[in-house]
Symmetry: C2
Subunit: 223 residues, 2 copies
DNA sequence: CGTAATGTTGAGCGCATTCAAGCCGGGTGG
DNA sequence: CCACCCGGCTTGAATGCGCTCAACATTACG
C-alpha cells in the first residue's frame, strides 16, 4: 500500500499475509484483552480504534482506512489494549507478527518499513495530543475534516466531498467533545458557508477558511 | 535498563551505543526539524518532549526519566518532529538507528525489544488521549501524580514523595490545562488532605483518595 | 409503516479560562 | 549582608466555551 515497493518486496508482503478476513460493519477485528497475534492491513472498509477507562468512558483513538495498519498496540504486552471496530463492511490482511519479525530480519527494506509504520503512528498521536490539549471546538473539527479529506484524496477520492463513516458521538469522542458540540459546530460552519452538511454527507465549500480556522494567519480572510 | 537481559544482550547494547552525551538543564537533546540519526536512552536526568503547532502554541507530549527512550518520532521522515528538552542535567546513550536496525536483524531478542519500546509508546499515548479527551482537571492531575510516582517507585524512589522537575505551566501543557488550573487543583488536593505541596516538593498523603478521583468506585471513600 | 437510532437545536449551567494582583524563593550585585 | 529583581507560583473575580438536560426532527431499518 505505501509506494516504492519493488516486485520482490510485494512478494514478501504476500508471504506475510496468512489470510484475509472480512469484518462486518459493527463487529470487532480485535478487542481489548484479546491475545495479540497479528497486525492487520486494511484492504477495504473503515475502522475506529478505541480505548476504555475502567469506569466505562471510552475514547476513540483513531479512524483507519484502506492501506493503514491496526494492531500495533498489542505488541508490548502480547495483549490488545483497545478495540478495533469496523464502521463499514471491511476486509483486512492478517499478518502474523512472528512472520513479520522473521521476514523483516531478512529484508532490510521491510524492517525499515515496519519501523516507519510504528513511528508514523507515534507522530500521528502527537498531533492528536496537540489537538486535544490546546485547540477549541472549531479548530478541532476543522483539523479533523482537513485530515480526513486529505487522506481520502490520497486514495483517489474527492478533495471537497466526503461521507462520514462515523456518528457524531464517535467524532466527539475522538475530538474530546460532546456530540451536541460537534453537531453545533457543523451547523456553524454551514451557516458561514464553509461546508455543506447533510447528515453524514459533507461537502467542503471553502478549504481555505477551514485552514484559516486551524491556523489563523493575520492577513488571510475568507477568500 | 529493562529487566531480563542476558549477558550477551548487554554486550549488544554496548555495541549499539556510539557515545554518551550530557545535556545541560534547559538545553535540547534534539529539536523539531533536526535530522534524525539516533535514539537516545536516558541514563540520568529528566526530559520533556513537546510538539508545536504552526502558530506558536505548544504541547508537552511526555516526560521521560532514566531508562526510557526518546527520539522515536524521527524514524518516519528522517527528521525529528518534536523537541526534547532536559529539565535537569542529564546524560544519555546515543544509539545510531542504523546500528540498531543492523543488530536487531541479527538478534531476535533485540528486535523484539525495539518493537516493544515503540508499541509501549503508542499505548502510553492512548492513555494520554483518554486523559485529554475525557477527564476533568482533578482526574487529570491525580492520574499524572499517580503515574509519576509509580514510575519513580519502580526506580527505587519513594512511593509517596516526589520532586517535580517541571513547572506548573509544563504540567498544564501536558494535561491540557492552564497553569492556574494546575495550581488551584494542587491547592484543592492539599485542602482535602490528599497531598502536601510545597512548590515542587509533593508528598502524597492519601494514595487511595487519588485513585478514587481517577476511578470513582461507588462504595470507596476517603479511607 | 412503525420503531429505534441518530442528529439538530434551545436554554441554562458549571468548569476551566482569562485577566489581574500579590506572594514566595533564589540568585545577584551593590 | 541585605536589597533588589525576576521567574515561578498562588489566589481572586469575572467571563465564556462547551456541557447538560430536554424536546424535537430525521433517517435507517426491520
Amino acid at each position: 500500500m505505501p509506494l516504492g515497493l519493488s516486485e520482490e518486496e510485494l512478494d514478501l508482503i504476500d508471504d506475510m499475509v496468512a489470510a484475509r478476513r472480512t469484518v462486518k460493519r459493527g463487529s470487532l477485528l480485535f478487542r481489548n484483552g484479546e491475545k495479540f497475534t497479528s497486525l492487520y492491513a486494511i484492504r477495504t472498509g473503515f475502522f475506529k480504534t478505541c480505548v476504555a477507562s475502567e469506569d466505562g468512558r471510552d475514547q476513540v483513538t483513531g479512524f483507519q482506512m484502506a492501506g493503514e495498519v491496526v494492531g500495533l498496540d498489542g505488541i508490548v504486552n502480547d495483549y490488545h489494549t483497545c478495540d478495533a471496530v469496523a464502521l463499514e463492511d471491511a476486509e483486512v490482511c492478517v499478518m502474523p507478527f512472528d512472520r513479520i519479525e522473521e521476514l523483516s530480519r531478512a529484508v532490510n527494506s521491510l524492517q525499515r518499513h515496519v519501523h516507519k509504520i510504528m513511528s508514523r503512528e507515534i507522530v500521528r498521536e502527537h498531533g492528536v495530543m496537540l489537538l486535544l490539549g490546546s485547540m477549541r471546538a472549531e479548530e478541532r473539527l476543522a483539523t479533523f475534516l482537513l485530515n480526513l479529506v486529505q487522506r481520502l484524496h490520497a486514495r483517489g477520492f474527492s478533495q471537497s466531498e466526503l461521507i462520514l463513516r462515523m456518528t457524531r458521538e464517535e467524532i466527539g469522542s475522538f475530538l474530546g467533545l460532546k456530540l451536541e458540540t460537534v453537531s453545533r459546530t457543523f451547523s456553524r460552519f454551514a451557516e458561514e458557508g464553509i461546508v455543506e452538511v447533510k447528515q453524514r454527507h459533507v461537502r467542503i465549500l471553502n478549504t481555505d477558511a477551514l485552514k484559516d480556522i486551524v491556523n489563523p494567519k493575520s492577513g488571510a480572510g475568507t477568500a
